[in-house]
């Protein structure tokens, strides 16, 4: 099987879209935070917490969508913690974010042990099953790749569209973008920069947690330590790659996921016998850095990103 065959196979693209899904949720969440001017480095920990919260809720008897809701609420609560520290208190967003990641991760593992003290391997749940969209799923290649995914994947793409519409077409989105660029402009209109930024961080963190829950509720059917495995940090890069625009960010997530799906398949080809597999594992990250260099040189970073807003200071 050579590269060409891989790129033309429906199963490859189906895998790419599946791998992209959690990234899409979390990247959108990060993008919303950053557009409002807050860098949320709590993303990794929030994803871990979301993955656990959604899964344990379903294991405890809630329906799958109930698990998604629990994950979302968990993320929003962690977002509230982040936003209180980073917005009204104006603390360093780096420190708050990394602190939150450590806190959320440890709290998750602790809760896991409290809830399941005896088990040696985590119990399984019945995860989201693929739903074939009538007619569309019959299309060649595109059908099985795009339209035979789980409902949560579809939700991710719908959410991307929704985020773009809200950001670019509504007064609220305008205020969010202005808050990340020049908060003084927002304050001059009598709007509360604090409320807008806190709201963006809370909602964005909720999306991140759903991204984490995708892993336990759709991609797999159980919870493992280290299952988020740096995906949050990738999403930070994807926001930059997407130049803080939802459409481009989704494209970046799919591209990264495609690299990831590709490296697994390349390991099974003739080259895989010669080259150590670690090189393939490295491939998506290496290509992402390259893409980042090429794509985001002209990107305009929100001017007030990471700048706390103090009313009245010159």
């Amino acid at each position: 099987m050579d590269l060409f065959d891989i790129l033309l196979s429906a199963s490859f693209w189906a895998a790419a879209i599946r791998i992209a899904s959690p990234l899409i949720f979390a990247t959108l969440g990060e993008l919303i935070c950053e557009r409002a001017g807050v860098l949320n480095l709590g993303i990794e920990g929030i994803m871990v917490a979301g993955a656990f919260a959604g899964w344990i809720a379903v294991w405890g008897g809630l329906p799958l969508w109930g698990g998604v809701a629990v994950a979302m609420i968990t993320g929003m609560m962690l977002g509230l913690v982040h936003s209180i520290l980073s917005v009204p208190f104006g603390l360093s967003q780096h420190v708050v974010g990394i602190g939150l990641t450590l806190l959320a991760t440890s709290l998750t593992f602790y809760t896991y042990r409290v809830v399941l003290p005896e088990v040696s391997s985590p119990p399984k749940i019945t995860a989201f099953q693929p739903y074939e969209i009538p007619l569309l799923s019959d299309l060649p290649i595109v059908g099985p790749a795009l339209f035979s995914q789980t409902p949560l994947t579809y939700a991710g793409f719908v959410l991307a569209g929704l985020t773009a519409v809200v950001l670019y077409r509504t007064p609220l989105g305008l205020a969010v973008r202005a808050a990340g660029e020049n908060p003084a402009a927002v304050a001059a209109q009598g709007l509360s920069v604090t409320a807008i930024r806190m709201g963006a961080v809370i909602v964005g963190s909720g999306f991140m947690a759903v991204g984490g829950a995708f892993l336990t509720l759709s991609a797999f059917d159980s919870f493992f330590f280290d299952m988020v495995n740096g995906r949050g940090w990738i999403c930070i890069a994807l926001v930059v790659f997407g130049a803080w625009k939802p459409g481009k960010a989704v494209l970046g997530a799919v591209l990264f996921a495609a690299f990831d799906a590709l490296q697994i398949r390349l390991q099974q080809t003739g080259i895989g016998a010669v080259v150590p597999y670690q090189v393939f594992l490295m491939l998506p990250y290496f290509l992402s850095i390259l893409a980042l260099v090429v794509m985001s040189r002209r990107a305009e970073i929100p001017a007030a990103l990471m700048v706390p807003f103090n009313k009245g200071e010159r």
Binding site: R169, T170, P171, L172, L174, A175, R177, A178, E181, N182, A184, A185, V186, A187, A188, Q189, G190, L191, E300, P302, A303, K311, G312, E313, R314
Partner: protein, 514 residues
């Protein structure tokens, strides 16, 4: 309009007092604004004008006193209350978001945040109608980040007009307009006043205050020290009231030029977004001469000042320094060659806001003058800064405070001192008095003239034609990157220069040359 409605009080300030720690910013300030009336608010920097406006807009809460709008008491500390009641403000420091378009900036905060759509088409067509009516030319779909300072000012004015403001507060609105544009703005403002708009006009330009206001209020040290009907006062009296003593603008005699220090021959630079580059520009800066560069902002001034500061290099043409052709041009070599810069935006490129005065004072010379064997010599740097503070009359608590706490005028004095202490041969002064009060303006002008008299070549870039005409020995006009011939002091009337600023005359010039 009948006379009874003319007398209606739209805004009443009653005994406003505001203290910041030991500093009293406003003390017992009271006045009324009537419907269709223009009040000019005069005062030096730090006189308390901005604080007063911030209280009106709910950014600060007054320690004592009341504000009444249209007969209703204004709740203190409620930012939206004044806006919703129909008060619009054009701030001196723009409150625009660079990554948003013009129309997005204008419509920000107009609709409720729960609204479902921004209705871009309607908004844009309303903006176009307004900008036509008020002669405020701007493309509603352009990104604000690409606009020049002058264009941004227009967006700010449109922002207030878009909200159908009944009271308009203008903080130094004409600082960046051509005389013609300012005239047009005044004409349309007068039109709007006739329909019942009331205006508070904050300005340092006394002739504008005289031209447009009905009443003048003078603030000094936070107190209202005088109130005059505009008809019964004059510029000299107002200037004296403002600073508390008689002031005279320095009379600057013209001087004979010396040897050419820097010359540009047929220099072109590439366009930068909407900002034009230089188009085959010929310019000579001679020793002992102030060369004035007039023009509306965004016509190539930025390219020229970037070129002279070494931030960009010519795409074609030749640059000569003291008769030598220049190679490897960079910011470092510009500093090394003794080109001193007073940058256009003292907040962005002139200073580092959170550095203290000492650190800001040695920004350009820390390596050469204030370090020994790789170690900073802070004792010398502090002594130097103390000297600057004294010599250039920078009013501040001391060299250790952050520069962001200084008023614009004092910040500019420090920059001026930092530049002039080096006794540079070539001085690039870009909008050196923008936003400064009369006292500071006169001071800066005197210092520039002094530098000229000791033999420096000064390039004065300004959008204020009065300043150019008062100071320059020779005047060039820049328009869309093209440079007019040099006009000797006093040889042109403002209207003629205004014509060049609008782009007339360049084509005739080209035909003559051909």
């Amino acid at each position: 309009m009948s006379t009874t409605t003319e007398a209606q009080v739209v805004l009443r300030l009653q005994g406003i007092t505001k203290r910041f720690g030991p500093v009293t910013a406003n003390e017992e300030v009271s006045f009324d604004l009537h419907r269709g009336e223009v009040i000019a608010l005069l005062g030096e920097n730090g006189a308390g004008k901005t604080t007063l406006m911030n209280i009106l807009f709910g950014q600060y809460t007054a320690d004592a006193g009341e504000v009444e709008l249209f007969g209703q008491p204004l709740p203190p500390g409620a930012p939206r209350a004044a806006l919703d009641a129909g008060v619009g403000m054009v701030h001196q420091h723009f409150t625009l978001a660079d990554n948003l378009t013009v129309w997005e900036n204008i419509v920000l905060g107009v609709d409720d945040l729960s609204g479902l759509s921004l209705k871009p088409r309607e908004v844009k067509s309303r903006i176009r109608a307004l900008s036509e009516r008020f002669h405020l030319k701007v493309d509603p779909s352009a990104k604000v980040g690409r606009l020049t300072v002058g264009e941004r000012q227009r967006v700010e004015i449109l922002k207030a007009l878009y909200r159908d403001a009944k009271i308009l507060i203008l903080d130094e609105p004409t600082a960046v307009l051509t005389p013609q544009e300012a005239e047009a703005l005044f004409a349309t403002l007068e039109e709007a006043i006739a329909t019942g708009l009331s205006v508070i006009f904050i300005s340092h330009k006394l002739h504008e205050v005289m031209a447009i206001s009905h009443r003048v209020l003078v603030l000094r040290h936070g107190q209202l020290v005088a109130e005059r009907a505009t008809d019964s006062t004059n510029r000299e009296e107002l200037a004296a009231l403002m600073v508390g003593a008689e002031v005279a603008a320095p009379s600057i005699e013209s001087a004979a030029p010396g040897a050419p220090l820097l010359s540009l021959r047929e220099v072109s630079t590439p366009d930068h977004g909407a900002a034009p580059g230089l188009k085959s520009l010929n310019l000579t800066l001679a020793a002992g001469q102030i060369t004035g560069l007039a023009g509306v902002s965004g016509n190539g001034q930025a390219a020229l000042s970037d070129l002279l500061s070494g931030l960009i290099t010519p795409a074609s043409g030749e640059m000569m320094l003291a008769g030598q052709s220049i190679k490897n041009w960079s910011a470092r070599s510009a500093i090394a060659q003794g080109i001193a810069r007073i940058p256009e935006d003292r907040h962005k490129t002139g200073t580092i806001a959170d550095f203290d005065l000492t650190e800001n004072a040695i920004l350009e010379t820390y390596a050469s003058r204030f370090s020994r064997r790789g170690w900073m010599d802070w004792a010398r740097a502090r002594a130097f800064t103390k000297d600057l503070i004294q010599t250039y009359d920078v009013r501040c608590p001391g060299p250790d405070i952050r520069i962001r706490l200084l008023s614009g005028g004092n910040m500019q004095k420090l920059i001026l001192g930092r530049v002039l202490e080096e006794e540079p041969q070539i001085i690039l002064a870009n909008q050196p008095v923008r936003g400064l009060d009369i006292g500071a303006v006169n001071y800066v002008h005197e210092q520039l003239a002094k530098a000229r008299d000791r033999g420096a070549a000064v390039l004065l870039i300004s959008e204020d034609l009065d300043e150019i005409m008062q100071l320059s020995d020779v005047i060039h006009v820049i328009s869309e990157g093209r440079l007019s011939p040099g006009f000797a002091r006093g040889s042109m009337r403002p209207e003629e220069l205004g014509g060049w600023m609008a782009g007339h005359g360049f084509d005739a010039e080209a035909t003559d040359a051909a």
